[in-house]
Amino acid sequence: MSEMTQETVRAPSFGDKVVRVLKAIALMRESPVGMVGAGLVLFWVIMALIAPFAAPYDPNATMIPFQLPGTVAPDGGTFWFGTDLLGRDILSRVMWGAQTVLFYAPLATFCAYTVGIGMGLLAGYKMGWWDTILSRVADIVLSFPVMVLYVIVIAKFGASGINIVIAITFASAPAIMRIVRGLTLDVRARDYIGAAQTRGEGAWFIMLAEILPNVRGPLIVDACLRFGYVTITIGVLGFLGLGLPPPDPDWGGMINENRSMALSFPHMTVIPCIAISSLVLGFNLLADGLREISIKD
């Protein structure tokens, strides 16, 4: 028997893995809510990607201010979403703004997760002093009003993309650490962790190779939700003038700049608002869909 089966034993090829991932994505069809979410997110991703080619105007070019949506531009084109109070094309700014938010939101989330997962694994696996110290640090950060925290961090280091990432990492990592710590505490009691310890594995191997892959499910769902929060945060920071330095297009910043005209020219603020909320909604629905699928069997 062994001779026969030996022929058929081969490692799964790259193709097999691709097929498996595609099958997992195909499961998404079972959740209409998740599909809507994925569609919204995908829409904005495409917008961000095609902005350099498809945006009708330079987002920072000042043309005729106070144009309503649909006005014909001097060069014969159309301001589909109108222009803002400096005369910039809102459609182009929204498209370029998508690029900003879809670059910084994943980057900030990724950094927050790297730090949060590291802290959570250490606290949950090592326990004892590690846990006490890391948990207390997390408690202190969490007990700070988040907005004040952002203002302090960015006021200290100045407004720039990287500082937004640092501020968001600083504020979100403790919450992620709490989740990872809880999941780790559960997994570390499993027999396979005992087996790894008794074959003399090091702590980092156990944390990264034995524990982390088994807590990924809830973390993926949480990451989707957190994308949404981070999107809002970037918007809020932009609104407060703590986002990207002007004149770069930034949805939050657009709302702030046109705030004074909100009543007479609502389109200037409503359009970036819709952009933010549809992306956040997209992430949240996607997270709901993923959770729904993961609990079904």
């Binding site: 089966t5 034993v9 005992g194 087996a195 790894a196 074959r199 003399g200 034995e210 088994n214």
Partner: protein, 706 residues
């Protein structure tokens, strides 16, 4: 209307139940019929996935949102449960039909006191006042023999022990005086001595309240003790039913027969009469074969007959039991007594020089008491004596069983051996190296590889994220057995061959394996570094009967081949009697008795050994047992009795001396030691707990001799 009804209490006819999942319709139960009369107790046995719990859920009409009854009827007191609407069902559930689940802690609400949960039943179903409900609840707690019912009433579930919790659940189920009680593995999560108490209680209460019982379990021995009739289920079908005695004495279905071959009984022996596992695996519900579901695993399979079409239940006419029915078309042709192939006899094991020597080992945990009282008295540091003066030797090729209930310190002992904890006194010597104080990080790869462990829970033993090949390969590399990738792979193949799994499993993820297969991979992993000693921590207790038999045999074959010392940690005395050469009985961290298996299982016994032996159900009607039910609970390890640890529950307690002084170690034979205040001569007079009828003993010997 129910007062005038005098037909059978429960009639299930041709019931079929399906679940709807992504993979499509999964038939969980097919063509199931059962009749239950008032006051009768009927058991359903079968391995996991056979549909026995689904039947119980269907009777309650509680099947989640993806299950449904696709055919047949369930009549309770003549009313068809399938037709009832939600309101009518609500009235029936909990008042006429009650259910007891496996996990008492999961059945009780942790945020409500016992009183509130119990009183809810009469208040909701009978509309009585709070005072009346309180009175009834206290009375019922007294009926389930809970000491001090008033105290229990005000306790939260976590404040009482597992056995007490299950008694509370039973009390809750009985409060509305149901006519039918469904018990789904009610004692599986409990220790054997606690189980014995609960089983006795259920029987007594069913008599007292004239309640019919539908008892679901995988434990055939338990069925024999509690049921009038039993039904054996296999792969969604009832394959055999009848009175307990006829099923146990003249089983007609090859599956039922196979099950009995898998259970270690008092007369089975690992050398002369090994267990006979059923070959193959339970088919998945959507891959059931045509005709007889058991066909592919059956030794009597007749092609063209057994797989021709659906097989109906047929009445067995060769015995006096009118209820005996079997789903086998060849039942009348097969003579099971003749057809049993004599299992291969194996030469006895030669036990070599001592490999593991444990001398006076102790493990204390230090805990700091932060209460005000401790602060004032200055007595802040307390010790949990998890292990106290553990002494024994294990030789090469020897199987030493460590027996005890939860909390006896056997897992702590395993942790110390594995280096996850260090001793606080005494010595542990493995291959002439002291390892008691050696943490796992300080052990050499050879030391690590020479002492490995097989874990209890098959679903936990493998990391779900990695392939089988990675997990075994990692061990091989880690222990420095091989480092070249091609050789590592070859070694993984060899190990898969050893545990009798196909080589293609190297790429499988654990979720693609069954419980028994996972446990085999766990064994392969433990033997990867050519260990001299393997600790098996309840390796079969989470497996189904037929799978457990195969895994047990496999483990012993490998052990025999590699001359490995096996430390078998278990609470299952039947398995221990079958495979162990020596037995160590532990209670509250101390050794109560140790000796060879024959010495421990025959008088003189330690009173605790005696109680344990009596508590284990034996699936053989020819065996009679003396019943000893232990009173009280396991004392807390934080505050153990100062004298003999067993004194608080011992039925043979002498008096004050047991409470005050540590019992002396009495050497009955060389290396047979009993820790008890009672003189050995007195203990010798105790009659054996288990007696096999003489005729039967002769019959077994004849059969073996022929």
């Amino acid at each position: 209307m129910s007062e005038t009804y005098d037909g059978p209490l429960l009639e299930i006819e041709n019931l079929s139940i399906s679940y709807y999942t992504r993979a499509g319709e999964i038939p969980a139960v097919v063509d199931f019929s059962l009749t239950l009369n008032a006051g009768e107790s009927v058991g359903l046995v079968g391995e996991s996935g056979c549909g026995k719990s689904t039947v119980a859920m269907a009777i309650m009409r509680y099947m989640g949102n993806n299950g449904g009854i696709v055919g047949g009827s369930i009549k309770f007191k003549g009313r068809d449960m399938v037709q009832l609407d939600d309101e009518e069902l609500r009235k029936l559930r909990g008042s006429e039909i009650a259910m007891i689940y496996q996990e008492p802690m999961a059945a009780l609400n942790p945020s409500m006191t016992v009183a509130r949960q119990l009183m809810e039943v009469p208040i909701t179903h009978d509309g009585v006042s709070e005072d009346e409900a309180w009175k009834r609840a206290v009375q019922m707690l007294a009926d389930v023999h809970l000491p001090d019912p008033e105290r229990v009433m005000n306790a939260y579930p976590h404040q009482i022990s597992g056995g007490q919790q299950q008694r509370v659940v039973i009390a809750m189920a009985l409060l509305s005086n149901p006519s039918l009680l469904l018990l789904d593995e009610p004692t599986t999560a409990l220790d054997v001595t606690v189980e014995a108490g609960i089983v006795e209680l259920i029987g007594e209460l069913a008599q007292k309240f004239d309640t019919a019982l539908l008892y679901i379990s995988h434990n055939l021995g338990l069925m024999l003790e509690v049921c009038d009739r039993i039904g054996v289920m296999y792969s969604g079908e009832m394959v055999e039913e009848g009175r307990v005695n006829s099923i146990f004495t003249w089983p007609k279905h090859p599956y039922t027969h196979g099950l009995f071959g898998c259970i270690p009984l008092p007369h089975s022996d690992k050398n002369a009469r090994p267990l006979m596992a059923i070959p193959g695996q339970l088919p998945l519900p959507h891959q059931r074969p045509q005709g007889c579901n058991f066909g592919p695993r059956c030794r009597f399979f007749g092609d063209g007959r057994c797989n021709a079409g659906d097989i109906r239940m047929d009445a067995v006419t060769t015995d006096e039991d009118p209820d005996h029915r079997v789903r086998c078309i060849r039942w009348n042709e097969i003579d099971h007594d003749e057809a049993i192939p004599k299992p291969d006899e194996r030469p006895p094991i030669e036990i070599g020089e001592p490999v593991l020597i444990v001398e006076d080992m102790q493990k204390y945990y230090e805990i700091t008491d932060n209460s005000l009282k401790a602060l004032i008295s200055g007595d802040r540091i307390k010790y949990v004596k998890a292990n106290e003066s553990i002494t024994f030797k294990a030789g090469r090729s020897e199987t030493v069983a460590i027996v005890g209930e939860s909390g006896c310190g056997k897992s702590t002992f395993a942790k110390v051996l594995m280096g996850l904890e260090t001793t606080t006194g005494g010595t542990v010597t493995l291959n002439n190296v002291e390892i008691g104080g050696l943490e796992v990080g300080n052990r050499t790869p050879e030391q690590l590889g020479s002492l490995q462990m097989v874990f209890q829970n098959p679903n936990d033993t493998l990391n779900p994220s990695h392939s089988v090949g990675f997990q075994i390969g990692r061990v091989i590399k880690k222990f420095g057995v091989e480092s070249d990738p091609a050789k590592v792979k070859q070694r993984v193949f060899d190990l898969l061959d050893t545990v009798k799994l196909p080589r293609a499993f190297i790429n499988r993820k654990p979720r693609q394996l069954s419980g028994g297969q996972k446990q085999r991979i766990g064994i392969a992993r433990a033997f990867a570094g050519n260990p001299s000693t393997v600790i098996a921590d309840e390796p079969i207790s989470a497996l189904d009967v037929s799978v457990a038999a195969a895994v047990t045999e496999l483990l012993m074959d490998i052990q025999r081949e590699h001359k490995t010392t096996l430390l078998f940690i278990s609470h299952d005395l039947s398995a221990v009697r079958y495979l162990a050469d020596r037995v160590v009985v532990m209670y509250l961290g101390q050794i109560m008795e140790r000796g060879t298996t024959d010495e421990v299982f025959a008088p003189p016994y330690h009173p605790y050994t005696e109680a344990l032996l009596s508590a284990v159900p034996i699936a053989d009607p020819q065996v009679t047992k003396r019943r000893i039910v232990l009173e009280g609970n396991l004392p807390s390890v934080l505050n153990p009795p100062p004298g003999c640890p067993f004194a608080t529950r011992c039925p043979r307690k002498l008096g004050d001396i047991c409470d005050r002084e540590r019992p002396p170690l009495r050497e009955v034979e060389p290396r047979h030691v009993i820790a008890c205040h009672i003189e050995v001569e007195e203990l010798r007079k105790v009659p054996p707990v288990i007696t096999v009828s003489e005729d039967y003993q002769k019959e077994v010997e004849d059969r073996l001799g022929s």
